[in-house]
Symmetry: C2
Subunit: 377 residues, 2 copies
Amino acid sequence: MKNISVLGAGMVGSAIAKDLSADFKVSVIDINEENLNALSRINSVKVIKADINNIETLENHCKESDLIISAVPGFMGFNTLKNIIKLKKDVVDISFFGEDPFELDALAKQNGVTAVVDCGVAPGMSNIILGYHNAEIEVASFECYVGGLPVSRNLPFQYKAPFSPIDVIEEYTRPARIVVNGKIVSKPALSELEQKDFEPIGTLEAFNTDGLRTLLKTMNIPNLKEKTLRYPGHIDYMKALRDTGFFSYDKIEVDNTLLAPIDLTVKLLFPKWKLEAREPEFTIMKIIITGTKNNKNIKYTYDLYDVFDETTLVSSMARTTGYTCTAAARLVLAGKFNRKGIAPPEYIGATSGCFNEILSQLEERGIKYKVKKNIYN
Amino acid sequence: MKNISVLGAGMVGSAIAKDLSADFKVSVIDINEENLNALSRINSVKVIKADINNIETLENHCKESDLIISAVPGFMGFNTLKNIIKLKKDVVDISFFGEDPFELDALAKQNGVTAVVDCGVAPGMSNIILGYHNAEIEVASFECYVGGLPVSRNLPFQYKAPFSPIDVIEEYTRPARIVVNGKIVSKPALSELEQKDFEPIGTLEAFNTDGLRTLLKTMNIPNLKEKTLRYPGHIDYMKALRDTGFFSYDKIEVDNTLLAPIDLTVKLLFPKWKLEAREPEFTIMKIIITGTKNNKNIKYTYDLYDVFDETTLVSSMARTTGYTCTAAARLVLAGKFNRKGIAPPEYIGATSGCFNEILSQLEERGIKYKVKKNIYN
């Protein structure tokens, strides 16, 4: 039985550990005891409280690992990945760090490491889908609409954060890079707001977010865009907060103290954005790929609608993110994906046999991507 | 020529001083030199820089005054009024302080002082109108809808504060006392939001505010309510800010410091709510009074729509507030209103001859209250 170490026992890390524990010896490492407690009830998962920021600690606990899953918070993702590569361990990373992973490409190749990055739902499954079709047709455009939302729509925000809320604010403030007619174009955060209908929810609002990440580098496609989805109205409030300065990191003087407004906003807003225990949420994604093959115009539409699992109590965001990650991990461990270096998920999608195996693993776990193919002249 | 001292050279105090300087010797006292500078260009107005929080200073500068106008900020209004009464000077007050003015009633009567309070537009003119009709018919209900708004409607807030913005936040947070079927009822701030159409602006949103003040005490009328007007949408943002805690005075720990969220909000929001120099704004008010006389049902509707004066550069809020105040001051100086003690404007309205004189003084200054009377069985 192979050994897997999961770094980070957050919502997604925990779901990953449970899933993999069916077939592998899994140990989970986190510095937060509370996170580990829930997992310690599962017999087949070994929990370890440790600070893996320290490379010696990491080495010590992962010596026998055949693969490492990095599910650490984004801010420590890059350094953790670098350390894993230094330790010559294959890795699947879902920390979604801000740095360019390709800075570690040479090191990973040199160390013979397969380092899959950004392997969640979007980025992640969206990249896999595009990678698959890009190997098969001449892709002209790729659009990804994606959101994780609570079922209950409570005013004013109609929102709960299914992952780290500070990363949500980041989505609302960082300019979004998209590709238009072959050129990378930077759009303001929250721009190009449009209302679109999504089954079975109804009308949602879509706006540019900076989610294309590795695709900006790996794909030679004239038009690429990603938009995030929210219930109508949410973004108006976010714009008002942003434009008034509540998301700013620039310190201002308040009551004789220098303070970054975002620090207050986090304190007030994030408790309101916390999903209740067992609160139903869902993940919704639509991917539209157009292109040509043999002089035919082809359009693929993928639809994902996945809801909180009431039996396993695993959130939809953890399911759709975590099980894409575990599917990739299984492919790496089985030697079915063994490309060395930094490997974003589009490389997995482009690798023979991988795409269908991932789809079927997701389907086994109840995550169904509905696909529609249109061919026209 | 009689002497008048105006305390406070803010927007309204300045408009009052200019208006009264046509007929009286006016001196204006303020601690803020910037406020005084604009007034010092008017020959007939004497400007004095002084801190009138000190009763000796106040006495010193107002020795020869026949009447004092108190246009100081609300937080210092009550104490200033008390000092004026102690100095045995007649006074018209538009500081709109939070304390109960009737606490000073005995002192004012004892000192033979006429102390008119709350003498702006609303409270102020709204009280005068009700006082007038209450002396004439059996009033069953009084409704006042009032707002001061910028002409330019810029998202997200579509709002500029025509008076102290912290008093606007106060309107958004303090429960509103209204009278329903003869009982004083407390309604949450921002409650009972309704959309109504107002000529010539169109649809506005009205919500309960705690503006009845002295009327709660002086009137024996079964139904009294005041609602404030904003452009549609504004209140949604205010509710979101309030309900998330941004208006709270309770200190929370942020970045190792204890901080009241309102202090940060003030810093970020108020610059956005500042009227530009010469920015057009308007005051809109509708008062509906129903009642009976000689077994007939009577309904009075008053409509005010007053706009920034481009020739005098006096804001509409300063005009409608300040000229009600100066009209009352003229009545007191002429001995036409000489009731001793605390005298809210409804007492002026109920005093023979006063109402029509105020209306005609306002009309001379271009402020027209349109009145409609319906009689039915």
